[in-house]
């Protein structure tokens, strides 16, 4: 840091102390503007990020229109599969990896009989679920394809459930009881809860509480475990009176995923889907042209409107408010700087170039920005408590004041204030020293 820069900071601090009211007004304007922007950005960031950036272009959702143009959603196939199509896709096994899943909610019976059973959310899925979605493990791993085929009573539990049931010890090989059924623990995941939960947008669980258990899809079917997510029988379909007719019917409730690692594989799978739908038409099940989709994660999130519109609107409003605060700051800085025209004249006479004046006054503005940023961080922290008043609770709880947000708040405050100070500083640098000195 050069001596002149430090000197300019000292001059800035002295100048700011000299006009505490004006300084406070500027700092407050920046602070409130930054806080409003950061709070809404924290929400927006939480809901708009890529939940699996390393693989989002390799994971795809196959969709098949099993209802026809009369009932589908504006030409779009349903967002999930019925049991018939889900099983058919799994059997065809046309992807490198593939899984089908549905949400479950099971009752855990603790070993200690004195403790009451409790419900946990989870998923019934196939073994490829874990490597496909890069699920991190604390102990063990997911189950194998053989376990899927054998309808094995195995389970993967979350780190928090493992802590609750086994005190955080390695529980691989231990048995637990869910809904009166015994399962053998094969893996304990690290804390893992991608936001939004892209693989379960259909069930409305994109932002709900983290999953605690994962059990094999086939085992869940054997045990007739009902979905805890959506079951969409729209378009004239019916739930059916019994389980078998429901499974054979057109109700969609299973989320399918496939992993495809090249454009060729994607194209091949797309053709397979179309071919499958065409086969169904020829078999008399569909009496409409094949209507299929294959969306990757970003495309899927966009299609499902994963970013709530209110978060986008709130961000725009907050940024607008920040801009208004900055415009006010420009006015205050202009008043402050131009009151020092005679000082500027003297400095210019004594050898300060326009660039020196720029440096001095921008350093002062930077200090206002830093102070405003610090106030903004405090206000952001306070404001986080009230996010729930504006957003749905399950979205509001995602907003967090972490180190990256603190850094961003300070950076934005300083950069925006320095940017806002360019006009007042330009005016200050244009002061004609001769006129100032003559007028004195």
């Amino acid at each position: 840091m050069s001596g002149m820069f430090v000197h300019n900071l000292r001059l800035g601090a002295r100048s700011l102390r000299k006009n505490p009211v004006l300084t406070a007004l500027m700092v407050m304007a920046i602070g409130f503007g930054v806080a409003a922007s950061m709070i809404t950005y924290a929400v927006f960031r939480a809901v708009s990020g890529d939940p699996i950036p390393q693989k989002s272009s390799q994971l795809f959702v196959p969709q098949i229109d099993n209802r026809g143009p009369q009932y589908n959603n504006g030409g779009e196939p349903p967002d999930a599969l019925n049991y018939t199509d889900a099983v058919a896709l799994m059997k065809a096994h046309q992807a490198r990896r593939q899984t089908v899943l549905f949400a479950v909610r099971l009752s855990v019976l603790p070993e200690d009989a004195r403790k009451a059973p409790f419900k946990v959310p989870g998923y019934a899925a196939t073994g490829d679920f874990f490597p496909m979605f890069d699920v991190p493990f604390q102990y063990g791993s997911g189950w194998s394809a053989a376990d899927d085929d054998a309808h094995a009573p195995v389970i993967v539990i979350s780190r928090s459930l493992n802590q609750k049931l086994f005190g955080g010890a390695n529980s691989v090989g231990k048995e637990i009881v869910l809904d009166d059924q015994q399962y053998r623990v094969v893996g304990v995941t690290e804390t893992w809860d991608p936001k939004p939960r892209f693989f379960d947008m259909f069930s409305g669980h994109a932002y709900s509480e983290p999953s605690q258990v994962y059990i094999p899809f086939n085992r869940a079917m054997d045990l007739k475990i009902e979905t805890a997510g959506n079951n969409n029988c729209g378009g004239g379909g019916k739930r059916g009176d019994d389980r078998e007719s429901w499974l054979r019917g057109q109700c969609v409730w299973i989320s399918p995923w496939v992993e495809l690692s090249s454009a060729t594989e994607v194209e091949r799978y797309r053709q397979f889907l179309a071919s499958y739908a065409d086969d169904q038409r020829r078999a008399g099940r569909f009496n409409w042209a094949p209507n299929v989709r294959l969306r990757d994660v970003p495309g899927w999130l966009e299609y499902k409107h994963a970013v709530p519109p209110e978060s986008r609107i709130a961000l725009v409003v907050a940024v607008g408010f920040f801009v208004i605060c900055l415009v006010n700051t420009i006015g205050l800085l202009l008043a402050k700087f131009m009151r020092r025209a005679s000082e500027i004249g003297v400095r210019r006479a004594l050898g300060a170039s326009r660039a020196d004046i720029y440096r001095q006054f921008l350093a002062e503005a930077g200090m206002v920005g830093l102070a405003g940023g610090l106030l903004g961080v405090v206000l952001t922290g306070v404001g986080m408590l009230g996010v729930g008043l504006v957003f749905e609770p399950e979205i509001a709880h995602l907003a967090r004041l972490d180190l990256s947000l603190v850094s961003l708040a300070l950076l934005v405050a300083i950069a925006a204030t320095v940017l806002a100070a360019f006009y007042p500083t330009w005016r200050a640098a244009q002061v004609q020293p001769a006129w100032q000195l003559k007028s004195n």
């Binding site: 002149m4 003297v346 400095r347 006479a349 050898g351 300060a352 326009r354 001769a434 000195l437 004195n440």
Partner: protein
């Protein structure tokens, strides 16, 4: 040291052109002490601000220390102001928020001088004007004469080749004015080139040479009728 040839300065508005300086010629040699006199509005201060590169001129030539300055950019002009010129103003023009030490330091800061050398020069300059003991005082805590001596110390600290003084005693009482004038004479004896603008004929006589300005031009007093008219209006013998 300072040579202006056929120099003019015109202030233009949409409807009127005002000549502040017209065919202005002056040649100040190195080591000279020149007093520039003239009535109010004659262009003395405009000459001084152009001489000090605080203002540009409209036509003619200006050589400062052998350099033609008309085409210099802001950085180059600032550098010359900082290194070659010292200013002393009628209104002192100290920065009120800075103490005496920091005021004297201002031009040295812009020269990028190291802290140790800055300190040495500041204290030497303050010693010279007899205010070393007031280094931590603020301008408001000093008398007018002391403030002007601080301004002189500020001008001297950078060891400029040329000192430009605009009515340096104009805001001082007689006794303080005498002290400041003696200081300027001492500085001149040590080799500095000084150009002093003044209204005061008595002060002007203490310079080596007088240059009289009327209506933006340097005039020969003995031959210029305007001088005689001015003297007549003032009731003094020509």
């Amino acid at each position: 040291m300072l040579k202006m040839t056929h120099l003019s300065k015109v202030y233009r508005t949409e409807v009127v052109e005002t000549y502040a300086l017209r065919d202005f010629n002056i040649d100040v040699k190195e080591g000279e002490f020149v007093a520039v006199t003239g009535p109010s509005g004659s262009g003395k201060t405009t000459f001084l601000t152009i001489a000090g590169l605080l203002e540009t001129f409209t036509g003619g030539e200006y050589h400062l220390d052998g350099v033609e300055v008309s085409n210099l950019n802001d950085n180059a002009r600032s550098k010359i102001r900082n290194e070659k010129i010292g200013f002393i103003f009628q209104a002192f023009n100290l920065i009120p928020d800075l103490n005496v030490y920091d005021n004297v330091e201002v031009p040295l800061r812009y020269r990028g001088m190291k802290a140790l050398e800055r300190k040495q020069r500041i204290m030497d300059a303050l010693e010279r004007v007899g205010l070393a003991s007031r280094a931590k005082h603020y301008p408001a805590e000093l008398s007018g004469g002391q403030q002007q001596r601080v301004a002189i110390a500020r001008a001297l600290a950078g060891s400029p080749r040329l000192l430009l003084a605009d009515e340096p005693t104009g805001n001082l009482d007689t006794q303080m004015a005498r002290g400041v004038m003696e200081l300027l004479e001492e500085i001149h004896r040590e080799g500095a080139t000084i150009v002093m603008v003044t209204h005061d004929p008595e002060l002007a006589t203490r310079a080596q040479r007088n240059v009289h300005v009327i209506d933006g031009q340097v005039v020969d007093l003995a031959e210029d009728p305007r001088f005689h008219q001015q003297q007549a209006r003032a009731g003094a013998p020509a």
